[in-house]
Symmetry: C2
Subunit: 232 residues, 2 copies
Amino acid sequence: MADSSYQDLRQLHLFEAMADDHFAALMRCAFVQTFPPQVELITEGDPSDFLHIVLSGAVDLFSIWNGRETSMATVRPISTFILAATIRDAPYLMSARTLEKSRIALIPSEEVRTVFGVDDGFARAIVSELAQCYRSVIKAQKDLKLRSSTERLANYLLRAQLRTGGQAEFHLGMEKRRLASVLGVTPEHLSRAFRGLQSHGVLAEGARIRIEDRSKLERYARPNPLIDDAAS
Amino acid sequence: MADSSYQDLRQLHLFEAMADDHFAALMRCAFVQTFPPQVELITEGDPSDFLHIVLSGAVDLFSIWNGRETSMATVRPISTFILAATIRDAPYLMSARTLEKSRIALIPSEEVRTVFGVDDGFARAIVSELAQCYRSVIKAQKDLKLRSSTERLANYLLRAQLRTGGQAEFHLGMEKRRLASVLGVTPEHLSRAFRGLQSHGVLAEGARIRIEDRSKLERYARPNPLIDDAAS
DNA sequence: CGCCCGGTTGACAAAACTCAATCCCCGTGG
DNA sequence: CCACGGGGATTGAGTTTTGTCAACCGGGCG
């Protein structure tokens, strides 16, 4: 593995506290691969052979049932996905595909579980990571069950503005059809939801979004730290 | 704490692998309390002062936003709730209330974190528990995003039948208004969804449900292990 | 007995989806 | 350089799903 990747990974919160030789052991059987966009990395239901880590690019976690598909989350550098499946040695609950050209590190799940069994710092880091993931999903579920689609879009835009640096004008990081899937609506409906937010100060021109008056949008969206704050 | 409660807790997967003296330390500052029905045990947004464990009865985890309320999960004996908040020392994301008269064990979060820091078996047990919780919520989210309300009800009934022992006739463990909230619909809509399932072999008379022909209902519901199986 | 409350029903309204047509950007190839 | 084609985005019309409001039913309990 390239030295730069090695260093990037070592600094991940997940690997920070573990013993050097255990980290080295993980890295020995890990490898990094670059994938073009739109490649399916894993398929739900498959056994979890590798822990995946996004080093660059972006990965979409999605799921299919009865011919319908929905996007569950986007994974951006540098973070892992399907940690829970790896730890429990259980099948993937979601599929994953690259959104852009992406560099992915793969660590055999077997080896992750072995090191988990012997390295206490690693075990505790995993607790922290999983607790974080759990709380994120709970927030997503509250978003889904308590808000209308337009309210979800409004709050999504408020979060996206912060994530991209807080400028009044920013760029949606994805196609609108995929944003629709993330929000749990059809692309047509999303289009109408955007129009519905015009009166609350949202200007959308393609993927470029402009929030004219954040506090006005907030009055409509009513963001809540227990749903929308990334931290905590 | 009563000796029987002590033994019950000790056998929990979460506490099984930990050192005796660490378990004893947790128990020393823990206490068990019995609550009547409909008591609010915790409120979302509050700091997570205690890890809660349901010893008997049942607890509803719910959440409120902008005047709307939704039921997120039901906790039945013997299991914990708000473990993630305790570990991260973060505010509760959900509120909790007793559904019936319930015995609840409370362990100060501070103490849980302390023992987590020193007992490796406990730390690993928490990993396993959190990974399980995480996967459960992911399944719930797939259920919500990929299925219509009637499909959710149909699959819920199939799961409930298995959970209660597999008899053709069984009892809903809760009021229908709460089931509606769990499924993310209004009580009126749930009522209509039940009627819609009559043609798929579901007979509902109050809280008593009868599934005339499970395979017929399954043809409609299309249950999927990656959404509906409790294990894995 | 009569009240209260959960459940059901009906009528209507709002939200969201479907299908089809069109637009428009962008990249390709002539 | 421009015409063409493809795919995402938008728009419109109509349908389905879900929610709202009000009325009513019926069992359990004081």
